[in-house]
Point group: C2
Chain length 292, copies 2
């Protein structure tokens, strides 16, 4: 089902590459253009057929595109969108795949406020991997993955619906919310777990790591993620992360306190409550698919 004639992806890594592969597999667009910062990534992306055409220049890359998706690191997104908007055709839709939304959306809306030439809608496809790079891209990355699309007072309704339709056509489960609600949710279910995983991996002496079994491996898996990329995400969602951190610390400390007092009943009760929440992600003992 073709939705767009021409889609341009700026900053093609794991996410951008997977978007390209998914668009092509599902024939969502007539043509997929990739805009790259490094020639080595450009070559790798062409090699794995993530895009039809590749360029190092935003100006030419976005020329005539109906949809422009910016999948570069968070801090770079508002600047790239500003440039892309300058060269985009009238009526083009711009979206992104950044992991924080309030900072990106407000920055972009400020810079685009005087122009109604293009329409911006914020997106956050919640898929990925601790591995970065276009070579790990896959066409099914977004299937059944949650994708949050943001809506503000400045959001153009028709463009919002097209962006929703786009992620939906890639197999994602789309949910619309405000940038602030998004940032609160992801601080709790993505950003804080990453910080905790980094904290765990960082605090264990290297000589003990050799004894690590599945529990440690799973709990710290995301601590293998890209430090620059995640520092970026954390620093653009500080307020919500600090709030989520306080909620975690309070529960964690309650458990530790019950343990230190040798209070079996209280310890079991804290663990049970946590287990019941985690089990909400399961169905018949297996990981449950999302039900947004």
């Amino acid at each position: 089902m073709t939705i767009f004639k021409k889609v341009t992806i700026i900053g093609v890594g794991l996410i951008g590459g997977s978007i390209g592969l998914a668009i092509k597999k599902r024939k969502i667009a007539g043509e997929v253009i990739g805009v790259f910062r490094h020639e080595s990534t450009l070559k790798r992306a062409l090699k794995c057929n993530a895009v039809d055409k590749a360029t190092m220049f935003i100006e030419g890359g976005v020329n005539g595109a109906d949809l422009i998706i910016v999948t570069s690191p968070v801090h770079s997104i508002p600047g790239i969108i500003k440039t892309a908007a300058k060269y985009a055709k009238r009526g083009a839709i711009i979206t992104d795949a950044g992991s924080t939304k309030a900072w990106i959306v407000s920055s972009v809306e400020k810079s685009l406020v005087r122009s109604r030439k293009v329409h911006f809608v914020g997106s956050h496809p919640m898929a990925g991997s601790e591995r970065a790079g276009v070579e790990f891209a896959r066409a099914n990355l977004f299937e059944k993955a949650p994708c949050i699309v943001t809506k503000t007072a400045a959001t153009d309704k028709a463009s919002l619906n097209k962006v929703i339709k786009f992620w939906d056509s890639l197999g994602a489960i789309v949910k619309v919310m405000s940038p602030a609600s998004h940032d609160r949710s992801v601080s709790l279910i993505s950003h804080l777990p990453h910080i905790v995983a980094f904290g765990l991996a960082g605090s264990v002496p290297l000589r003990e790591i050799q004894y690590a079994a599945e529990g440690f491996r799973d709990t710290t898996r995301v601590a293998s993620s890209d430090p620059e990329l995640w520092a970026d995400i954390f620093l653009t969602n500080r307020k919500e992360i600090l709030k989520a951190g306080r909620a975690f610390e309070s529960y964690y400390k309650d458990i530790l306190k019950a343990i230190s007092k040798g209070d079996h009943k209280k310890t079991v009760s804290f663990l049970k409550r946590a287990k019941s929440k985690r089990d909400a992600l399961k169905f018949n003992g297996k990981e449950r698919e999302l039900n947004l």
Copy 2:
């Protein structure tokens, strides 16, 4: 390779059942007896062929056994070993699969000190799953899993070697250490990650859980573990867990502080150090096998 004529497993769940299946598959013993507390488990264990014979009575179950393995919850292990020792034949070896060692080993050594009739060697096969129950048992559970075997001044050398040989024959990678060293290691690489996972799962509002992607799922997977079983483990390793907890909190708080100050350089540096440790568990981008 038959090492024992008769092995008795007391408390057959995921671990005990997997030991039974592995012994039978690898022909380590002529006969495997299971001792059960509940008839329903007994039936399930026989159904999945985890043991050759099953009984509800320790007295008859351990009769004539060369090796007795107690795989019941931690708090019950010393008492069960005391009873088993009474009915065991002279020269029998008793081991366990408890997740903490100092408390178990010292309790057992105190109760057996006057009798040299049987020999106790503490074990901790570091395999398992957040799923409990004999129906999840599998013969390959211990393959390439670390297994720590404890040695103290009271440990009989010949029995120690037989227990090492036993776990080795099940495919585990055996390491000998003192109960205290064991408890320090597992507090860091197993107990604390579990507490943190329970803390994370417990602190997230249920309405947010629906947006959870892979990161949250992995980081909190072990929070689905059995609360009674883990409360038991935590409460018998309090001192080391509180020490490990302080190390984690210090690293975690350093990250949060750098984020709250908007300090990009420091944030990246903490994440990098954590990533380099977690990456030590990998080889060519894939999870590395253990190399004890």
